[in-house]
């Protein structure tokens, strides 16, 4: 019965894995992108749900021309940008108090990593939008070919934008 349900879900979602599998595999990607674009925790929860809804609605249209990660990454990033545009307030940047899970060598290392991650998060949020898009995709481990396809940039333009984005990120990190 479970196998039949899984198969039906697969058919319903155009050949993509079932939605709960996608949430397990790509949920952290979605959560991290939501965190970059929305600092307010309550609004971030709204944004995450909107991204999940868009992914659920978009899955039947996925035709494997791009990888599922690319497809979901695009939806998440674009939904985040449109969410920020629709919010009737100034961009809100706050300190994030995210707990660290998993085994870490020492408590001091955990604090240092948490701090460095928070600094990276804060710095990425301060980047101009086009550079932030690019850096987010780099941090998420997309290849340059995938990024070029997602951002519709030729290799030369991608290289130039990446150089600018890295320089800006370095400057912001050093200041912080």
């Amino acid at each position: 019965m479970a196998a039949i349900r899984a198969a039906s879900a697969r058919v319903a979602h155009g050949g993509a894995p079932p939605f709960d599998t996608i949430v397990t595999d790509y949920g952290p990607l979605i959560a991290r992108i939501a965190t970059i674009y929305e600092a307010d925790p309550a609004l971030r929860e709204d944004l995450t749900q909107q991204i999940l809804l868009s992914v659920w609605q978009g899955l039947p249209g996925w035709r494997a021309e791009s990888s599922l990660k690319t497809f979901i990454g695009r939806i998440a990033q674009n939904r985040a940008v449109s969410f920020v545009a629709s919010q009737a307030r100034e961009p809100f940047v706050s300190e994030i108090n995210e707990g660290q899970a998993g085994d870490l060598p020492t408590p001091e290392d955990a604090v240092a990593a948490s701090s460095e991650r928070e600094r990276l998060l804060a710095a990425t949020r301060r980047l101009p939008l086009p550079q932030r898009d690019l850096i987010v995709l780099i941090l998420e481990g997309f290849s340059y070919a995938e990024i070029g396809e997602m951002l519709k940039l030729e290799p030369n333009a991608l290289r130039l934008r990446l150089a600018r984005a890295k320089a800006t990120l370095k400057k912001v990190l050093e200041r912080s």
Binding site: F19, D20, V23, T24, G27, P28, I30, A31, R32, E45, T48, Q49, L52, L53, S54, W56, Q57, G58, G61, F71, R74, I75, Q77, N78, R79, V81, S82, V84, A85, S86, A88, E98, G99, A101, G102, A113, E116, R117, L120, P128, L129, P130, Q131, D133, I138, L139, E140, G141, M150, L151, K152, L153, E154, A157, L160, R161, R164, K166, L169, K170
Partner: protein
Amino acid sequence: MTDPDLERLSQMWREEPDPEMMTGLRRSAAKVARRARLAQIADVGGAIAVSMFVLVLVYLNSDTNTVITGAGAIFILWYSHVRQRRLREVEMRSLTGSTEEMLVQSFERVEATVKRARLGLMLLPFGVLTGFLFAFALDRAGGDPLRAPGRSDLVVAAGIIGLVVLIAYLIRSIKHGRSELDRLNSMRAAYLHERQQIGPS
């Protein structure tokens, strides 16, 4: 910043997710999927139910006017349904394209919404006046010209409240739409500035 630096930051960025976060995310996802499925069923099911209801009414009161009105109502219902579906497909395509393309489409969509709200606000007085004239014409045989037979003060009061709420909603839509357009414009300007810095792609 070298590529190894970015690689190190990337590894740190993508560290093992917090299990509590994942539990919350799975719960949200299940809720979203459940609501989306119900909304889909209600959307199509509602349109079918209303169509059946109109067909039954037409069958029970079949004359030319009823048939034409019923056919018109069913046509408008399904046209609206198909149009909503097409708009959702367009929105989904823009979400899977580049951010710049998405911003252009969002701008056009919000601009159209603001224009429709402004038009609604401008036409509202004419609509109200037309309604009063229509009521007057129906009741010109006698009685209070502004009161059709059987209409109570309560209905008139509800109509006025409804009108006030509609006006407030349209004004709020226009204000919200305008600030969203400003933000979309500044986002588009940021991309244009970036393209100008690096040259054409």
